[in-house]
Amino acid sequence: MTTATLETPAHAAHRSRPFAWVQQSLTLAWRNIVRIRQNPEALADVTFQPIIFLVLFLFVFGGAIANGGTWHDYLPYLLPGLLVQTVVFSTMGTGVALNDDFAKGVFDRFRSLPIARIAPLIGAVLGDAVRYTLSIVILMTTGFVLGFRFQNGVGNGLLALVIVLLFALSMCWIWVWLGLTLKTAQGVQGVAFLVMFPLTFGSNVFVQTDTLPGFLRAFVNVNPVKYLVDTMRALMLGGDLQKPLLITLAWMVGLIAVFAPLAIRAYRRRT
């Protein structure tokens, strides 16, 4: 060493640790959780919204859809579907928050540090897993209070919750990518709604699909939300599991395989 600039910096140790990116990602996830605690009002979309949606859909549509029955008969059908809709909707918050972080310059700090390029993105996603979990817990608790029960064993029921969480963690890479690509948080939100409404309403979340016109049924049959909802219902209520589960898992792998690399590329290019 002949130059002062090459003296070992205090943090040079990070380079010798092969899994440094894991610790960096967890540290950044911790940051996001700390921020949630600091701004609890930002959690409205995953706390009150699921409750309001459940109550509204259950009591407004319940009697009509249950075909002679009451809302009691609609609840077991609705809850697994609404769970998917709630969690899928909450994934877009990840992209909005990332876009905001970039706009505020915090990411300049991260990008000037010797950390893995992917760490801030994984950190954002893992931190948001807390939000997704919260929305799942709140919706299910409300459901239980209203009389919902797992009819296919508690183990399968809990497995369903894990799968919907993992699906959210796969799907949110779309929003990570868009959050880094689009210019403003409003833009991200606009695109998100444009995608989310057809995905969740053009499915079997609220109604059985056999009354739908042909073109819509064709869309529903390629809609991943349908297969995720089928998986939820199979695990929570019973029924054919294998086909919807396999298709759901394939979608999860596909979403990550396509959008995670796109997101990383967008992160590298964003200036």
Binding site: T3, A4, T5, P9, Q23, R35, G105, D108, F110, I115
Partner: protein
Amino acid sequence: MTTTNQVAIEATGLVKKYGNTTALAGVDLSVPTGTVLGVLGPNGAGKTTAVRILGTLLRPDAGHATVGGYDVVREAGKVRSIIGLTGQYASVDEDMSGRRNLTLVGRLLGTPREQARARADELLERFELTDAGDRIAKTYSGGMRRRLDLAASLVGRPSILYLDEPTTGLDPHARNGVWETIRDLVLDGTTVLLTTQYLDEADALADSIMVFDKGSVVASGRPAELKAQAGKQSLDVRPSEPAHLERVAAIVAESVGARPTVDVVNAVVSVPVNDGTSMPVVVRRLEEEGIGVTELSLRLPSLDEVFLALTGHTAEEKKSDNILEGASR
């Protein structure tokens, strides 16, 4: 071990374009280890773009640069491990406390939790933020936020520090605080690249100064050399009758021996001078000619005047249309 002749930052032919706009039009610079380079220029001159390239946040379209001997594009990770970056807009997390902001950086650098906390406390104390350490940064004043940002860039004890307009928008007291910190860092051997819009700041801190304009280096040298060209001070004469502007300009030119600028809007004649010795001459000549004045003063030259002296045109022209100006180059 000799460090005097080592180069910490070296750039050749840096070019960066945004669409049709040229932010940097081929910049060369070299900063010896342990020295301070002041990059002086108006908004839109390309200062921030240069810092972002040297800080690995942007890739140059042409040219290349090494920092601490590492290439900023090919060895960006190694560059990041020896630099600290303080942006023009303080990049702190507003939703976290000052202390957590600093611990976060320490943890990201792989420091064990206890050490990261100790380092955060140390920096909070050094930047007089200990009392505010547990408040969220959103509640900080502009000066506190800037100090926190500077502290965050020092967590990893960088040997090379970029400060992008570290005092823009700060009150004089906060500004002095930042200056003192920079001086301390330089005493510790840190190499600093500082951008600023203020000549006195560059003069107070830098070992050498480069003047940027429209993405190019238009002048460079030691502060004393540049000041000799620009004049250390500015002599202003405001005649009581605006009609006398031309005659006042002629008198000033003759007395000082330099071409003054005539500001018709404000009806004032200004000329760069090195000291006040020519002032009595100006006063006598004005008296002889019977011209009354409402103002006769010596002041530090503004950036515009430095620009005029160094480049032959004022910085003001570019401020109005800084981006578009670059596009036509």
